[in-house]
């Protein structure tokens, strides 16, 4: 099995479990919608918090499918087959990351725009938000796959996963929100790019090692 075949198979499985993606999207929308109810509909208030709300809601929503990303394969014995498929373990992690981003990160990215508009974000800031969310969701998928691999077989994996992922995502959150609110967003984008470049090789390598350890 090569990388493309594995990604195709995982995408087909994700389509069959479409409710997982829908749950993440609905969580994103509903959580974002709660803020105007709690803070009132004032445009100035909402516009001020909109980037942070969208980022935090996207972060939390993307965590939802992570416990099944590798957990299901571990429980039904598929992880052994994946590790014996001829792909290196980090290749399996890359495939899982790509599928998580395509089925969760990308849909969140697409729906972030309308949510931000609902939160009265100035329209000229929308492209900045979406441009920052692109590397942001990719980093989240990379770190999320790593957390999913690290917690394989753990007794409270669903609880442990956000406890690992969320602290690791704090720098991305800081620079992601700053890319929208700062008068000089270029620096924040450079930082996001640097974090993506660091996570892209390190997270799959670490996740692959964690998968091998879990399969022992």
């Amino acid at each position: 099995m090569n990388l493309g075949q594995l990604i195709f198979r995982e995408l087909r499985l994700s389509l069959r479990h479409g409710a997982d993606t829908m749950a993440a999207l609905l969580f994103f929308i509903i959580a974002g919608t709660l803020f105007p109810f709690a803070l009132g509909p004032g445009a100035a208030t909402l516009a001020g918090i909109a980037p942070g709300v969208v980022w935090v809601c996207a972060l939390l929503a993307a965590l939802l499918p992570l416990d099944r990303l590798l957990g299901a394969d571990f429980e039904d014995g598929t992880l052994d087959l994946l590790l014996l498929s001829g792909l290196p373990a980090y290749g399996v992690a890359i495939a899982k990351t790509v599928v998580h981003w395509l089925t969760t990160g990308l849909p969140l990215l697409l729906i972030a725009g309308p949510l931000a508009v609902m939160l009265r974000m100035p329209s000229e800031r929308l492209p900045l938000l979406l441009a920052a969310l692109l590397p942001g969701t990719l980093i989240l998928s990379l770190l999320g796959t790593l957390a999913a691999a690290l917690t394989l077989g753990a007794r409270r994996a669903a609880v442990l996963m956000p406890l690992i992922t969320l602290p690791l995502m704090i720098p991305t959150l800081i620079f992601g929100a700053a890319a929208v609110t700062s008068p000089h967003p270029a620096a924040a984008f450079y930082m996001l790019g640097a974090m993506l470049l660091a996570a892209a090789p390190l997270a799959p390598l670490s996740a692959g090692a964690a998968m091998r350890a879990a399969a022992e």
């Binding site: 087909r12 499985l13 069959r16 479990h17 429980e75 039904d76 014995g77 598929t78 052994d80 087959l81 590790l83 014996l84 498929s85 001829g86 290196p88 399969a215 022992e216």
Partner: protein, 216 residues
């Protein structure tokens, strides 16, 4: 009729019933040797100094009480569990030095079936390989609708479809009825007749010809 003649007859008969002449045609000539294997699980030494050799057409049954290390030995042979000591050689070559080369020559069946409830049987294994195990009419059914024995047969069909030379099977007949077990034995004999090798752990006697037994 000699034993090899008998295996050839079984192989030809099976291929004829499949309507294919090369479905199990491996025709490799290899020697797989394990020398002084030792494996730890956590702090516990599961087994030590296990050695055997298996030539093309051979079969090795692993016997022992629960927890004796049959599954651990199979996982070590697959490269999933690291060896504390010992070496594995394929025609004299150390296989653990190049795992990707080695795993392309083995097919794995763990004690879990590694099938996905949302996918159909045909999405797991090509239809041609479902027929010999009596799963042809279930090809388009989602696996969640199959019984436990049918799922096991599907997992066995995947082993057969791999066309790998070495089959590593952990309790392969779990959940199989008598007829399915007979089909499975015939497939094993056909695989051996084509030059393949089988290492299996089993609590129930398998009606294979000229098997070696390794007691753990």
């Amino acid at each position: 009729m000699t034993l090899s003649d008998l295996r050839l007859v079984i192989s030809r008969g099976l291929n004829h019933s499949l309507g294919a002449t090369s479905i199990l045609a491996i025709r490799i000539f290899a020697l797989f040797t394990a020398s002084n294997l030792s494996v730890f699980r956590g702090e516990r030494l599961v087994f030590s100094n296990v050695s055997f050799s298996l030539a093309s057409g051979g079969a090795l049954l692993l016997r022992g009480a629960n927890g004796a290390g049959k599954s651990s030995l199979l996982r070590a042979l697959a490269g999933l569990t690291p060896l504390a000591a010992g070496e594995l050689r394929w025609d004299g070559e150390n296989v653990l030095g190049d795992l990707s080369w080695y795993v392309s020559r083995l097919a794995w069946l763990g004690h879990l079936d590694a099938v996905k409830p949302a996918l159909t049987a045909a999405e797991h294994v090509p239809v041609a390989f479902l027929e010999p195990l009596g799963l042809g009419r279930f090809a388009d059914l989602p696996v969640r609708l199959l019984s436990a024995g049918q799922k096991r047969r599907l997992a066995l069909a995947r082993v057969m479809a791999s066309k790998a030379a070495l089959w590593l099977l952990d309790e392969p007949t779990t959940g199989l009825d008598t007829e399915s077990e007979a089909r499975f034995v015939a497939l094993c004999e056909a695989h051996r007749a084509a030059g393949g090798m089988i290492i299996a752990s089993t609590h129930t006697p398998l009606a294979l010809y000229e098997v070696d037994v390794l007691a753990l």
